[in-house]
Amino acid sequence: MISPIHIITLTLGTAFFIGLLKKLNLNISALLMLVAIAAAGTISASWFTAILSGAANAEVFTAGFNPPYSINLLMGKGEALITLLINLAGFLGGVYLLKSLKERGIYTMIIYLVFIMSLNVIVMTRDIFNLFVFMEVASIGIAGLVILDKSSKATQAGFKYLIATGVIAGILLIGIAFTYYFAGTLNIDVIQQASIINFKAGSIAVFLVIISIILELKPFPANGWGIDVYEGANPGIGAMISAASASAMLFVLYKLAVLVPESFLQIITAIGILTFVGSNLMGIKQSNANRLLGYSSIGQIGLLTAIVGLKPFLGAQFELIAVSILISHFFAKAGLFWLSGIVKKQNLKDWAMLRQKPYLLVLFGIFIFALIGFPPFPSFLGKWELIMKLAHSHHFYILAFILIGSFLEGIYLFRWLGFSIKMEDANLPPLTVHWNKIIPVVLSALGVLGSGIYFGTITEIAASLKYIPLLFIALLYVIDFLPVYVKNTVSIAGIGYYLYTIYPDLEGFKLIFGLIFLAGGMLTLVAGYFKTGTRKGFYPLVMLMFAGLVGLIEAHTTFEFFFAWELMTAGSYFLIIRGKKSMTHALSYMLFSLAGAYLILAGFGLAHIGQSSYALDILASVQSFAPLVFILLAIGFMTKTASVGLHIWLPGAHAEAETDVSPMVSAILLKAGVFGLILLMLNMGSQFIGSFNIYYALAWIGAITAVMGNMMAAFQEDAKRLLAYSSVGFLGYILFGLSFMSHLGWLAAVSLSVVHFMFKTLLFLAIGGIVYRVKTKEMYKMGGLIKKMPFTFISVLMGIIVIAGVPPLTGFGGKWILYNAVLEKGWFFPSALVFFAGIVAFLYCFRLIHTVFLGQLKDEHREVKEAPFWLLLPQYMILMVIMLFSALPNSLLKPIGAMLAPIFPEGALEWQGQLAKSGFGYWNGQVIMYIVGGIFVVVFAWLWYMNRNAQKVKQFNIGYSAERPSLPETTHFAYNFFAPYKKALGFLVSPLITNFWDSASEGVHAISDKVRRIYNGNVQTYAFHILAFIVVVYLIIF
């Protein structure tokens, strides 16, 4: 084993060597520099693996004395890891900066080496004066590297950096002097034993030391200089500051944290949280990529600072939490800075350039998701553990602030991602990439992925996760170049096989929702055959969503559930953003999902208090705050079911999605929320706040959602938007049914879920086929298509009869059960709203079929063909099932009833053949089908006989007495179809909720804008900020 001291000797020696041999070829110098850093890294790595496998920590004593008489270095687990990271960043950064280092000559390389070396020493040293010295060296190194960039911005940034670190160093030096005075030593371990914090002067000395380290970490709001440095510096240097330097300083803080009392740790936590929230808040308003990365870096470091402060409460999980979040930040931030250097455009909107090289977009996506903490990245685990531990230790405010900060971070990061995926890129220059710039980015992406999976395997709760679906996704990514029909077949086969393997384990709700998710997924995938070409990137994402959905079904623990939930969110986000004009909709989908996910996380955290296991049934025995847990989880799930108030993401997202994605995200994805609610209600049962039943509120929410969704649907001009709002309304019925907590209510809800899946797939595919043919979604631009697309017409007709709940089709069954459930339960007023919504559904049903299929065929659609076969096939498969369920209602309802019987034994339906009897009424779907069919056939035969010789006429042969129609578009009554209705009741759907969210987001933006004004770019102000910060913190502590 090589002594850690050689990390220093190697790098410093190389620096001297290339300095001595000035004449040496620049290429060779660069190579030497990289080799030196690589060697240093190898030393760290070897120590890291050794210590992990049980070797003892190494201590290095310089000058032959033991501490406190000499400087000593320690190489423990932490030191090994951090130096490894630093050297890794140094190596990759060196590769990345190769060209600019060579351009600026040999001295830059020396500075770079010294900078890396000093960071290593900062991490390893146990002597605070030594620490100070090398911090100075590192500062000067950074400033030098920054200033060497030949732009005025860079020069200013370097200058500010020097001034700020100078001020901080002064304070640190004072602190060190006093500490030495009181403790009589500079060695950290000895100082700790000296317990100088027991008297005030001693604690002030420690305070000064610690506060200056914190200031080095750029706490909010005394961090304007840091932001300016990030903005002004070369992105390659920015990466070093953000990844390497910040990691080192964090470690220093961690190292010194042993010196301070717990009360001081709380302040550190508070500062960290404040920085996390504040930086992310300000990040929202940024449009400059590097500056935004700066805010994000500072925010993440703030979070890590807080974690250091929280160490006493995190117990054994501290290392996991801190390291996983640090590593995510390290790789992602370095990668992003490097990407920024490749793009060379500072405006976020110009990042649409990345689309020119799709693999760069993939890398970018990986970094963004890693930063936010999606699975399978390490920060996901870290965040989960952190929240669980915080909940355990009753740090609810901190928990809330961390989630808020993460959410704020999500806002700007996902907006950025959206820009790069969807923004107009017409006027952007071509993107050129050099190998030396791309390799570090790729390696960091691999690093973050690999470490994520590694953390997954070493962590106990994550050990049960199944990675097989993820492997399958990876396989699909590999074969992405193949044509659609191959990948489609592979995907269908994959899902089918998976369903086959897990089918025996499914029962009850899991069976029903498993079938909706997987069989439904196969069905909607069948439609995908109508696409030609390769459809790049589509199948891995679809499978990601389905992997998430199936994960929900299979989840046994809250962790698995949340893991699957996040996978599903990520997959569906990408599916949604693939649609046309879907940038903003995908963003709002993501933000609502993110907020929902954080609520769920918080809910699981609270539920976990006082529990040892993570199994899902801990929800059944929540120890404290049960109503709160319920509300958090319910709202979290309701973001997916798009209940009123949380629905605004849905219409745009569903309407703009691709033809066969719409049914996936509408008919299938929404059921994830329903499944979550069912799990929640099953486990937690009735919940009361005081004597108020929360379920009653849910019933109202469901009812209002139903009315509002249906009414909005009636007023839409866009066919897919209409269907999207109709989903909102229908999910309202389901929530309403669930809220009853009775046999019939749940029977209605579950059967409506199945029915909703069927008809919404049917309708979205049918309308998608039309849109595919006529190239517009505006219904008033269509009309008369029945003659061109009779098969599609039939499926839409059946679909709307089901939605409307008109007998004899299966939609009526749900209505009938709901009536009986209401009579049993007695919540009449929300019920009246639900029935009102049911009638309002007629409006949009009719509008859909009239304005699209009936009325006048337009000029340009005279030669339109029927929808593609592959879109019709799944529709007719579903139609057959609908007819079966309609004729034999007990084939659907009886099994669900049997499944519900153990949960709600009271009030089950009584079946006599196809006759269902409830406490109030009865209904025989089969007989109704026969009677209605019989009458229909008789009347039809008679009428047909009477008018068998009828003259067929064309579309304008209509009974005008005087003028006759001349243009189809002026004769087709379609636009604003329900104008009088809108006049009477339109106020009910005035966009209050949209306005609310709009003003909320505007408010956040405005605050962000106000707050960032404190950074005026003036170095004196920044120095003042630093001093004021110290004073304020001092006043708080003492």
């Binding site: 006529v774 190239k775 000029d859 005279r862 006429v953 064309k954 042969n957 007495s961 006759r964 001349s966």
Partner: protein, 212 residues
Amino acid sequence: MKEDFKKRTVITPEGKPLEIDPVKDYFSDARPKVHKPANPVIEKFANWARANSLWVLGFGTGCGAIEMRPLMTPRFDAYRYGIQWRPTPRQASVFVISGYLSVKTLKRVVRTYEQMQNPKFVVGLGSCTINGGMYWDSYNTINRLDHYLPVDVYIAGCMPRPESLLHGFEELKKIIKEGRGEGANKYAEEFDWYKANQKKVIKDWDMPDYNW
């Protein structure tokens, strides 16, 4: 011809040009058919029903329209004779040409008449429909309605009083009951003659020969 009835080229959703000839593409150009009376017994019964259920099209073509309104008032009360007004030609069976008929209106009248279903009856109201009346030498009003449509009953006068109108309806009933109300078939049989006459006066003929 109105601009909208001329041929136009549109672009289909696939981006191909497509020529539309509105008159051909949007209107059926089938010729009218002769519907011979069925079995005499049934026909007698049917004629009784037709005679007692006269649904008059609410289309006032000229000044005589004002004479039709009082028929619905308590004073004349045409309802008691089975006469009702109907706003759409599809459902009406009697077309009252109320007074002078300008060429421009004639075009609409022909169109409307053809949209009514067989059997259908035409009542010429006032002298103008018989020989042009006071507009006999006008450059713009027709003189003899029966050259353009098969007329069942003429009611002379300028203007005839509502009583005469009622009398005319009674005459029409008699005609129908006797099975002589076959104007629609006559129109179909002598279609070419009627069309030639119509086209002689209606100069911008921008519709198919028969308006279904």
